[in-house]
Every structure is written in C-alpha cells, then in structure tokens.
C-alpha cells in the first residue's frame, strides 16, 4: 500500500505535542547521562524557533521543541553508536532524519563525504555535555538520511 503523505507539523503544535519530561530522557543520576544540546538554523543562518526534535534509543524516546533562539536541549544516554534524530518544523513538509555521533571514529562516518561528515559528529563541550547543531540548508548543511 502507498503510505499516507506527510504534511508539515505547522507552527502551532507547542500547546499539544511537547511535554515537560520530553527532553529528560534519562534521570539525572543515570550512569551514562549526557546533555545533548544545540541549535536548529535555516538557510540564512537564522534560528528555527518552531522545530520539534525527537530521538529514539533502546528503551528511550525523547521529544523537545526549539526555543525562540532555535535551541534545544535533551538529557539522554551516551552511546557507542549514534542517536537517531528526527526534526519536524514549519516549512518542513516532511521531517529530516539525521544521526548524532558522539565520536568521530564511528566506522560508518568513513562512508560519508569527508567534507560533510563533520556535521554528524557532536562536539564535546564538557565531561557530559555535547553540542550538535542542525543546519537545514546552506553552508555546512547537516547530512540528512532517507530509509
């Protein structure tokens, strides 16, 4: 069967989809807890203040909307692999898929164009803090996936 077409999440989902525990995927005292944060920007480098981000890891699911400055912040569990990240937003008729790698040594990254693979690697900012920006378009556009 042909799947139902995607349509944009639109600008007005914040009274519906986000929930307080959404970004807090693991408890603060989880042994592998990390902070994963960053900004979503558009082709002009402007923040995207109405995006919805979701991540999915074994037994875990997180959801976070961006703030007025395009920023998001999850508390989730570190992984040796990658964290799938799905971004919905006004102006996105279908979501974009990406992957957050916490290490540049992940074997899969060797398959990605060297000029762009860095967009998939989170920058370590502290013992338990990683920064991952999503650039929807333009210079340094994040690598997106289709399955």
């Amino acid at each position: 069967m042909v799947p139902t077409p995607s349509q944009t999440v639109g600008p007005f989902f914040a009274h519906a989809l986000p929930y307080a525990e959404g970004p807090l995927v693991v408890p603060e005292d989880h042994p592998d807890a990390i902070e994963l944060h960053g900004r979503v920007t558009d082709g002009a480098g402007e923040p995207v203040p109405d995006a919805l981000l979701e991540i999915c890891q074994p037994g875990l699911f997180g959801r976070c909307e961006t703030g007025a400055d395009g920023s998001y912040r999850f508390r989730t569990a570190a992984t040796d692999g990658y964290i799938p990240l799905l971004v919905f937003g006004r102006g996105l008729l279908k979501p974009v898929w990406t992957r957050v790698y916490l290490s540049a040594d992940a074997p899969f990254l060797a398959e990605v164009d060297p000029a762009r693979r860095g967009t998939l690697v989170a920058r370590k900012e502290g013992e338990r803090s990683y920064r991952f920006d999503v650039r929807l378009q333009g210079e340094d556009e994040t690598v997106f996936f289709a399955f």
């Binding site: 042909v2 525990e21 692999g81 799938p84 974009v96 997106f144």
Partner: protein, 251 residues
C-alpha cells in the same frame, strides 16, 4: 467529483501521471511532498539542498527501534477533545475514526495517535496564533489515544475552522486536523494532516498541493460516514492512515 479532478495550483509541482497505484507497481511510489515546494514559502530557506544519504540498515539499526512513550500514560478521556474543560466547546461536534495500517495493509495495534487542531473559530490555543478570532475557553484542541487490536483509533472533537495565514495574499488553510502517528519502527514515524471532504480551499492550499500526485492528495481527505455518525449527536468521518514499510517488511 473527487480531488483527482482538480488541477494543481500553478505554484505546486506537477502531478506525475506515470506513478502507478501499489497494486500494479512492485515498488510503492513515494507519495510524500518534496522538501522544496516554493508555493509554501517557508520551505524556501528550510528545505535541505543535498539529496539524503540512504544507508543500509541492519535489523538492529537504531532507526528501527520501537519508540517507547510509556512514561506518559494515555488517559481515558484523552481521545475526547470536547471534555477537557468545565464546559463544552462551541462548534459542530464530530467523530473521527479509522485505522492505522502498515505498508502491507496490516493493522497496527496499540500505537500512539496524537491529534491537534484549531477551534471552530479557526483559532489555535497557541500563544503565537494572532488570528483575530475568538479563543474557545472550553477547547484546547489536543487529544491522544492508542489504537485497539484492529488498529482502530477514535476521537470526539469539534470540526475545526479554516483560518488565514500569511503565505501569500488572501491565503486560507482548509479545515484540517493534525495527526501524529508512531507505528512500530522509528522509520514509520508520520506527522500529517487530515482534511474534510469537499473543501473549496483545496486547490488554493500550497501545503496540500505540495503532494505531487492528486491520488495521494485525495488520501489525505477523510470521508463522511453515516455509519460512524451518531443519531442526534455527531457527524462521523472516517480516515485511514498507512505507514511506510520498514526495510525488512518488504517482500
């Protein structure tokens, strides 16, 4: 008269007459809109310009995990958007029901369905909605439910109003309910919009028209159903959602 008969708006991409329905086509066509659909202005700076990578997935791939949301239990009344406040919302009470199916037409049981929408006035209970229409204090416009063993969902709500937006001069959205559906693998995740039959705004809406094939657009339109309609109480609409296949489902 069906949506198929209607010409696409000039700003949208052309329909692809070569696309075949899945019954006569080995690989299902991609029914989704392209990222860049300039008639919908917000896509211009947000559409990625590179084609997506298509990595091979093994059965253990993180994208194939079943998203869990168990920390947020679904309440018994969450499916009824007319019973979330002290009084009843103003507007035309409706029932919206249907099934969530996978790419092979099998029902998806016990999966989360979330809906949100404008009030009957066309106003969202969202702080940034500036449409000068009254807010309904008895209507938030958000509901959720889990599908039953046959993949069925059912919501009781108010028919949403149309509303203006600033995409182009005199732009109005057809009445719609936003749907968010999970499925059993993260790759099946779908957010879309359900429309109501016969809406005169269809040919003028660049969001609906961003779907290239008119037959796929038609599948975003619910059907009035007298069997779903409850006498002396509410009209019924039926709408099924088909999720994408996961890589290991395809034959």
């Amino acid at each position: 008269m069906t949506a198929t008969d209607r010409p696409p708006v000039p700003t949208g991409p052309s329909p692809s007459p070569s696309l075949s329905p899945s019954s006569s086509s080995p690989a299902p066509a991609d029914p989704h809109p392209p990222h860049l659909s300039p008639g919908y202005r917000s896509t211009v700076l947000r559409a990625p310009s590179h084609p997506p990578l298509r990595p091979a997935l093994d059965p253990e791939a993180a994208e194939l995990l079943d998203p869990v949301y168990g920390h947020r239990p679904v309440g018994e009344l969450d499916h009824d958007l007319t019973r979330q406040h002290a009084g009843e919302p103003i507007g035309e009470r409706i029932i919206v029901t249907g099934r969530i199916l996978d790419g092979r037409g099998r029902p998806v049981p016990n999966t989360l369905v979330e809906v949100w929408q404008a009030a009957a006035t066309g106003r969202y209970a969202h702080p940034l909605d500036r449409h000068p229409a009254p807010l309904d204090p008895n209507f938030t416009g958000f509901g959720r439910c889990l599908t039953d063993a046959e993949g069925r969902y059912r919501f009781v709500t108010i028919k949403p109003g149309t509303y203006p937006w600033r995409n182009h001069p005199n732009a109005w959205r057809p009445a719609h309910i936003h749907f968010s559906v999970f499925g059993t693998a993260f790759t099946q995740r779908l957010i879309t919009q359900m429309y109501f039959p016969g809406d005169p705004l269809f040919p003028h809406d660049p969001i609906l028209q961003s779907v290239p094939d008119p037959r796929d657009r038609e599948r975003l339109v619910s059907a009035f159903d007298l069997d779903v309609t409850e006498p002396e109480w509410a009209l019924g609409y039926r709408w099924d959602v088909v999720l994408g296949a996961t890589p290991f489902e395809e034959e």
